[in-house]
């Protein structure tokens, strides 16, 4: 059942991922995160034009069971957000690494990428149930 963590992504301890390309990054939450939350019913994410900061709260994701804060893995300005996801939050459960992406950010400090884990390190981070 455990879905593979894609090798081309960077990961945070708080279970967000970033797909960096050029000066921007698409951000989402991992399979591990959606699986821990269970059925997701609401997603609250920042609008286009707002700024997010690395490891700071940027929104909330709420499942039947519980509500969790979302933390941005990187700093920057939001240039796109997944409007479809707001209408169909269950996409986060079905495709956390694909159609369940949250926002696209124009990075203000690409060096922050070094603060994130690669897939192998993230595998180890989640192996003991964190």
């Amino acid at each position: 059942m455990a879905a593979e963590n894609p090798k081309d992504l960077k990961y945070s301890k708080e279970h967000e991922w970033a797909r960096v390309s050029g000066g921007s990054a698409v951000i989402g939450i991992t399979h591990f995160a959606q699986d821990s939350l269970g059925d997701i019913v609401y997603v609250s994410i920042p609008g286009v034009g707002s700024n997010v900061r690395q490891f700071q709260k940027m929104g909330e994701v709420e499942s039947v069971k519980a509500v969790s804060d979302l933390f941005s893995p990187l700093s920057g300005k939001v240039v796109e957000r997944n409007e479809e996801l707001l209408k169909n939050p269950e996409t986060l459960n079905k495709a956390p690494f694909g159609g369940g992406w949250l926002i696209k950010v124009h990075l203000s400090d690409p060096a922050e990428i070094d603060n994130l884990m690669d897939a192998e390190a993230y595998d180890r981070h989640t192996a003991d149930g964190h």
């Binding site: 059942m1 269970g38 059925d39 019913v41 609401y42 909330e60 709420e62 499942s63 039947v64 069971k65 509500v67 459960n93 149930g129 964190h130």
Partner: protein
């Protein structure tokens, strides 16, 4: 997770849960499934449209026997136990001398001198501590904790009775709602109460521990979906049923908890009678009520409820109801603000969302 020292109890169905890929969580000292891979929403849907089942073997099952059993239970339970005919059951409250709710429970009258009391897992110790010295003093009654002798599987949903009939050679439908009887499943006989905690028809089947897995597997083979504590919480809240420890505690009395219809104060020697009469005559400032959130947000346990700038209530339970596609909950409200139609606002993590008091239950099954 770091707290490694607590030993959690496991039910006889633990291996079956692991095999099904259940997510297990600590609950009242037990390691219990909170959900299975299909997820809480699919589990709730199975209970509402087909049949789902819950392992509720963690609940306390106290067997109360002896020539004094029924009169003893009359002194500690809010039900008219003497008036329950053998083979029937009643939901009621176990209150202390001050009228505080120690637990809510179901008493099944098995025979003239034998009752089965089903209590919440987390309250079993408190119930026993309350009852044992009083039983000893009264005499003629013995209380045996049989919780580990039997599993308990709640099979619930519109197809539950038909499914139990198929595995028990028609034994299920011979037991009418709120009755308890014996059925034969997989070569073993066991008690089955036609009761539950979901708002649906169904049974709570009590196989001996040794055959529990066999019964569970028979039900799986019949297409019954295993459901966890998450779905159980959604189902009971949709049905307007309260959860002790969440919606009421020993600090609450049955009148403010809206449970006065489960009180019978005239059993000889009923310990809580005087306090309860006093509370009834004085009236209570607040009362439990249901609400619907009018925006997309879940109001959860402990969130404060406002009318303008005044706090007029507190949420005790809240969830997203997949059956109604609505955000629902219950809580305690000052009586002036507890009537259906009253508009209020709830502080959801710093954001005020609007809500409306509605009558309970949120969901009631269609009855034939």
């Amino acid at each position: 997770m770091s707290s490694g020292s607590t030993v959690l109890l496991r039910t006889r169905l633990y291996d079956a849960h692991v095999k099904s890929g259940a997510k297990l969580v600590p609950f009242a000292g037990w390691e219990m499934p909170v959900s299975y891979p299909q997820g809480i929403i699919a589990e709730v849907t199975s209970v509402r449209t087909g049949a789902g089942m819950f392992d509720v073997s963690h609940m306390g099952r106290l067997r109360v026997t002896g020539h004094g059993a029924v009169s003893f239970l009359g002194t500690v339970c809010s039900a008219n136990v003497a008036g329950i005919r053998p083979g029937r059951s009643r939901y009621h409250l176990i209150c202390n001398e001050a009228g505080g709710i120690i637990d809510d429970a179901i008493v099944y009258r098995l025979d003239d001198e034998e009752c089965l009391l089903v209590v919440n897992a987390g309250n079993k110790k408190a119930v026993l501590e309350w009852m044992l010295p009083r039983a000893q003093k009264m005499g003629g009654v013995s209380i045996t904790d049989t919780s580990s002798d039997f599993a308990m599987i709640a099979v619930q949903g519109p197809d539950a009775v038909g499914t139990v009939d198929r595995i028990s050679n028609g034994g299920g439908s011979r037991i009418r709602p709120f009755q308890i009887g014996t059925i034969e499943v997989a070569g073993a006989s066991m008690l089955a109460g036609r009761t539950g905690y979901t708002g649906e028809d169904g049974f709570e089947v009590m196989p001996a521990s040794g055959v529990a897995i066999r019964v569970w597997d028979r039900l799986i083979a019949e297409g019954v979906m295993p459901c966890g504590l998450g779905a159980r919480d959604v189902c009971r809240l949709e049905a307007g049923l309260m959860l002790h420890g969440v919606d009421m505690t020993v600090e609450n009395n049955p009148y403010e908890a809206g449970l006065e219809r489960f009180l019978y104060l005239d059993s000889p020697g009923y310990i809580a009678a005087e306090a309860l009469r006093q509370i009834r005559d004085q009236g209570t400032r607040r009362t439990i009520a249901g609400f619907r959130v009018l925006e997309r947000a879940i109001a959860r346990h402990g969130y404060q409820v406002f009318q303008g700038e005044s706090v007029v209530g507190v949420v005790t339970s809240g969830t997203h109801s997949p059956t109604l596609d609505a955000d629902i909950g219950m809580g305690y409200f000052d009586r002036a603000f507890a009537s259906p139609g009253t508009k209020l606002s709830i502080d959801v993590r710093g954001r005020r969302v609007s809500a409306e008091i509605v009558s309970l239950p949120f969901y009631a099954r269609a009855r034939a």
